[in-house]
């Protein structure tokens, strides 16, 4: 498991998602990368039924085809505390045992799927994000397998991203690695994750961050257009980051 960076691809005006993916894929192949299968990352969010005195809790359940035997889940207790868990796939069935307390928000089921490329020790995934069958955007995932801390190989990853995405990527570390806030016994703490040893959970958290952005986006649109009822309004899940 190496360091992975997730980068949303800015959508140019008037281009379809399929076109962008095709374009990027061709560029990768001409660079010397080889096509190596498909991938899928999906996310389903369960919301606790409102009870007196307790804030609404959200359980995000994610899967990554790169770790096919694991289910990743992150609980957000509504007050900014998050707990992450990696479990066997059976965890999905256990969630179904709690349907009286935690109900799935089917409307916000979101996934990123697409082709997987390999270039040397790099793995590049071009994912098109869809929510309820609607296209939302393009997420580019890039993994450098031999390295386990971002601070060692960020410049390499940045060069790769700039090389074939031809977008400007800042010199500073991606926001996920710099503004990680966790709560523990000592209260809130800022962690600088760029020096930590990378774990599969970090990939999942980055996906959740991006997925949440896409969901917020939907809500903003619907709030402006006023076409979607209040059901959708409730679906935005706080990520504990102001």
């Amino acid at each position: 498991m190496g360091v992975t960076v997730l980068q949303p691809y800015p959508m140019p005006e008037g281009k379809s998602g399929a076109y962008i993916i095709d374009h990027l894929g061709k560029r990768l192949l001409s660079l010397g990368a080889t096509h190596a299968g498909q991938f899928l990352v999906d996310c389903e969010t369960f919301i606790s039924t409102p009870q007196h005195g307790t804030p609404t809790r959200a359980v995000h359940v994610l899967h990554n085809s790169e770790c096919p035997a694991s289910t990743f889940s992150i609980i957000d207790n509504g007050t900014g505390k998050q707990v992450a868990l990696v479990a066997d796939n059976i965890f999905d069935l256990l969630m179904l045992k709690m349907t009286n307390t935690f109900t799935s928000k089917k409307q916000t089921k979101i996934e990123s799927r697409g082709a997987r490329f390999e270039y040397g020790d790099f793995v590049i995934k071009l994912g098109s994000v869809t929510m309820m069958e609607h296209f939302k955007g393009v997420l580019v995932e890039i993994e450098y397998k031999p390295c386990i801390t971002l601070s060692y190989c960020w410049e390499m990853i940045r060069e790769m991203l700039q090389g074939f995405l031809s977008i400007n990527v800042g010199k500073e570390y991606p926001s996920y690695f710099t503004t990680q806030t966790i709560m523990n016994a000592m209260g809130q703490q800022q962690l600088h994750k760029q020096n930590d040893i990378y774990e599969p959970m970090d990939t999942i958290k980055q996906y959740l961050e991006q997925f949440t952005n896409y969901r917020k986006h939907v809500q903003m649109h619907s709030a402006m257009g006023g076409t979607v009822g209040p059901v959708m309004m409730n679906t935005v899940v706080g990520m504990g980051r102001p």
Partner: protein, 293 residues
């Protein structure tokens, strides 16, 4: 035991008498209806028959006198006599042919290997000095465990590097070197000489029982290739300690394997790999393609 022997002899006697008796019966009379010879024949037969009877009685008596042995007799290989002896059903022949072929092959290969190894002048650990040119024997492969320990502890290593010395093959040392969170290397010593180096990623297992498996990552396989050529470069049988020290210093420069751009082209990635080559003298980083041009 004596009793048993007596019984066995009695059984043997009985068997031979019975056999003689039947032989006589089979031969029949010699004359043509001569009364005398016929009588003699019957008489002989009765004699033999009587002898058989008495011998049979003797055998029975002896058997009754035998004691049941407390433990089973150990019969050695004779126990196998009762088993199937037909060659076709034992499938011995194909096995025999196979093992013969094996031995033949082993013989051939070892002969070729022996010849090849003798021709190889690059032998580093062993020096078979011919008697004509008697030289001072090298001390570099002399095996003094304390010396290696002392040597490795003397190498002033940066804080991000750690050494662990194992001796899985008797007195020869294997040093497992972890360089920061970047890579792990196993250096196999023969005396003070470096025999082999394996480079692996930080998250890959590197145990003393699996020192020869290659890394699953392309970059570390490439680094290992370079590490081998550097090993030959630093090889110095006259100053073995210095060779080890400078080699380890060179190896330590890989701490910035992913952090340094190529000195020549200024880029990080070429052909999907970071600059994997470190200059032997200046320790500067180069892509494999960039170092000679």
């Amino acid at each position: 035991m004596d009793k048993l022997n007596l019984t066995l002899t009695a059984v043997k006697n009985l068997r031979s008498s019975v056999r003689q008796c039947f032989e006589q019966l089979a031969d029949g009379t010699d004359g043509e209806g001569v009364e005398e010879s016929r009588n003699k024949f019957v008489h002989d037969f009765q004699d033999r028959f009587g002898a058989i009877n008495s011998q049979l009685r003797e055998v029975e008596q002896l058997i009754n006198g035998l004691q049941v042995p407390a433990t089973a007799y150990h019969l050695g290989n004779t126990t196998f006599l009762a088993q199937e002896t037909s060659q076709d059903r034992q499938a011995l022949y194909p096995q025999l042919v196979n093992s013969y072929k094996w031995i033949d092959k082993v013989h051939d290969h070892s002969f070729l290997a022996f010849n090849n190894l003798n021709q190889n002048t690059l032998r580093r650990s062993y020096n078979y000095c011919s008697q004509k040119r008697q030289r001072l024997p090298f001390t570099s492969f002399n095996n003094d465990p304390d010396h290696i320990d002392k040597l490795l502890s003397e190498i002033n290593h940066p804080p991000h590097t750690s050494y662990k010395v194992l001796r899985p093959f008797g007195s020869n040392a294997v040093a497992i070197v972890s360089i920061s969170n970047v890579l792990k290397a196993a250096i196999v010593f023969k005396g003070v000489l470096i025999e082999w180096v394996t480079i692996k990623g930080y998250d890959e297992p590197l145990d003393h029982d699996d020192l020869w498996a290659e890394s699953r990552y392309e970059v570390f396989r490439k680094v290992q290739e370079h590490a081998h050529s550097a090993m030959l470069h630093f090889f110095s049988p006259t100053l073995p300690d210095l060779a080890v020290k400078s080699y380890v210093t060179w190896l330590n420069s890989h701490v910035k394997l992913f952090l340094e751009p190529c000195k020549r082209c200024g880029k990080y990635i070429a052909n999907g790999l970071p600059p994997t080559w470190r200059d032997l003298r200046t320790l500067e980083a180069f892509h494999e393609e960039c170092r000679n041009s």
